[in-house]
């Protein structure tokens, strides 16, 4: 057996669709997924004996269709394989999580389709056990574990309503959905959605529990603080009229939108001799339908590039879905303007991995010298922990801008974490690296230890 021509990273709609399309050209394709099963977050499959959750109308049957096409495609599917990075020689490093070792592979093309990651704005107490990302609660619900007890969902965006609808269908509606925006007060943005009739059945499914008063949707309201009292969590809410209210619940799901899960990824075509492309939400967060189309496009482009064609421009058929996302963001825009991090108490944790707070960040910036974003990471340890900045970089930089309004804002790349490994890997996995029983690839230990 020889090395696959194309490796696709990520088994969601973009990756599966890219793999199917690339395989049509006759090239050999390997699809790597970090979890034990394909599907991605959107199509997470239930455990044995668990009841499947209600799927949005427009997505019904999509996963079944993709899975069937994938089975017939001849794509080599590898589960429990986590992408570790591309080294300076263009070798693709993949951790076999079951065997506990890093495989060194040398494909001719690499398609990265590792989806989106949730944005969760720091609030005091957001690091407590029982507080999860709303999407985290949603994937667990899809696995078959309905969040039990009194659940509060807070933040902003349609995902909160989708989760509320799925929880209601599963028998435990949330206590309330706390929404910072007020879509009802933006009729113009609402009317723009009518230009996308295909999503109207989805919107109706999302709104049903609210319309039938099974779920309270409190708009223009902000969750500012979470405290723990015994086994319970208390959330502090600020209503549009400024009135403060406390509500006691078992668990809280937070969500402030999605962003590409592109931390530390190599740029397109960053390594000599290796075509690198991105597909789906990791390129631009436009949702499952766009991801499928974008994945297919990337699969075709990878095949064309390996046949000697020059890179194509980014013009593809997802412009309509981009305008839909723009309309949705306008609809859910916060009513009181963007929240100010500097208003949070000093002990609010920004970096969850290393417990670095707003006070720590302010102390770091208070010296006589101008501190760069990179120094904030290296000396202040913001973005330095195990998640490698995935959940704090954005907020570290926005707080930095709030505190130094005259300085030009820094980008996440300037914090300087764009190199492999992209995720924590056990030293024993690296030590066993390089020997792939299934290919004739020579071991490349010298690169691993370099």
């Amino acid at each position: 057996m020889r090395e696959a021509d194309i490796i696709v990273v990520g088994g969601g709609p973009a990756g599966v669709s890219a793999a199917i399309e690339a395989a049509k050209s006759g090239l050999s394709v390997m699809l790597c997924e970090q979890r034990p099963a394909l599907g991605g977050a959107i199509h997470r499959q239930p455990a044995e004996g668990a009841t499947p959750v209600a799927v949005l109308p427009s997505l019904r049957g999509r996963w079944q269709a993709l899975s069937a096409e994938l089975s017939a495609s001849g794509v080599d599917v590898r589960t429990r394989r986590a992408f570790v990075g591309v080294d300076s020689t263009g070798a693709v490093l993949i951790e076999d999580r079951a065997a506990g070792k890093v495989e060194v592979r040398r494909p001719r093309a690499l398609i990265l389709s590792c989806g989106a990651v949730e944005r969760v704005r720091p609030r005091r107490g957001w690091h407590l056990p029982g507080v999860a990302a709303a999407g985290g609660l949603q994937v667990m619900l899809k696995e078959g574990r309905v969040p039990g007890g009194r659940i509060l969902l807070a933040g902003s965006g349609p995902l909160l309503l989708a989760l509320a609808a799925q929880m209601t269908a599963a028998g435990n509606p949330p206590v309330a959905v706390i929404e910072e925006g007020d879509p009802a007060s933006r009729p113009l943005a609402g009317v723009r959605l009518l230009a996308h009739p295909s999503i109207l059945p989805d919107m109706a499914a999302l709104m049903m529990p609210v319309l039938f008063r099974r779920v309270v949707w409190r708009r223009g309201t902000r969750l500012t603080e979470i405290t723990q009292s015994g086994d319970m969590l208390t959330a502090c809410l600020i209503a549009p009229n400024g009135r403060e209210e406390r509500i006691e619940v078992d668990r809280i799901g937070l969500h402030d939108g999605l962003r590409p899960n592109d931390f530390g990824l190599p740029a397109n075509d960053a390594a000599a001799g290796l075509v690198i492309l991105r597909a789906g939400d990791v390129r631009e967060v436009l949702g499952a339908h766009a991801a499928e189309a974008d994945g297919a496009e990337a699969g075709r482009e990878a095949a064309a590039r390996l046949a000697g064609c020059p890179p194509r421009s980014g013009a593809n058929g997802i412009r309509r879905l981009r305008s839909l996302q723009t309309s949705l963001s306008r609809l859910f825009a916060p009513v009181h303007g963007a929240p100010i991090l500097d208003d949070c108490p000093g002990d609010t944790v920004i970096c969850r991995c290393e417990n670095r707070t707003i006070s720590h960040l302010k102390a770091q910036l208070s010296g006589p010298d101008t501190v760069s974003a990179r120094e904030l990471r290296l000396n202040g340890r913001f973005g330095m922990g195990a998640c490698q900045g995935r959940f704090c970089s954005e907020w570290t930089l926005s707080l930095m801008s709030e505190l130094r309004p005259t300085a030009s804002p820094s980008s996440i790349a300037e914090m300087g974490a764009c190199r492999w490994p992209l995720r924590p890997v056990a030293l024993s996995s690296l030590a066993k690296g390089g020997t792939n029983a299934d290919t004739l690839t020579e071991p490349h230990m010298e690169e691993i230890s370099a």
Partner: protein, 85 residues
């Protein structure tokens, strides 16, 4: 009827369904705090997609994400702060 499958969380038997993650099985038994990490902060489920590293637990002496790792019959799972069983 299938026999109840179980694994061990910090020495206690916890039931699970085939194909689910350690985190999902623990949530099914209402376990949301996974002990302390080396910095002394609580370890817990958060992102669900292997990105945040908040849910690290120990299996066979190795730290692993509870939200990614599939659970199996008789599996021994410890908190990061525990001595290995």
């Amino acid at each position: 009827m299938t026999a109840v499958r179980t694994f061990f969380w910090r020495g206690s038997e916890v039931p699970f369904r085939a194909g689910e993650s350690i985190a999902a099985a623990l949530a099914g038994s209402n376990i949301h705090g996974f002990g302390k990490d080396p910095a002394g902060s609580p370890t817990r489920y958060f992102c669900g997609i292997g990105a945040c590293q908040s849910c690290l637990v120990r299996v066979d002496g190795r730290a692993t994400e509870a939200c990614l790792e599939p659970v199996y019959d008789g599996m021994v799972v410890m908190a990061l702060e525990d001595d290995d069983a």
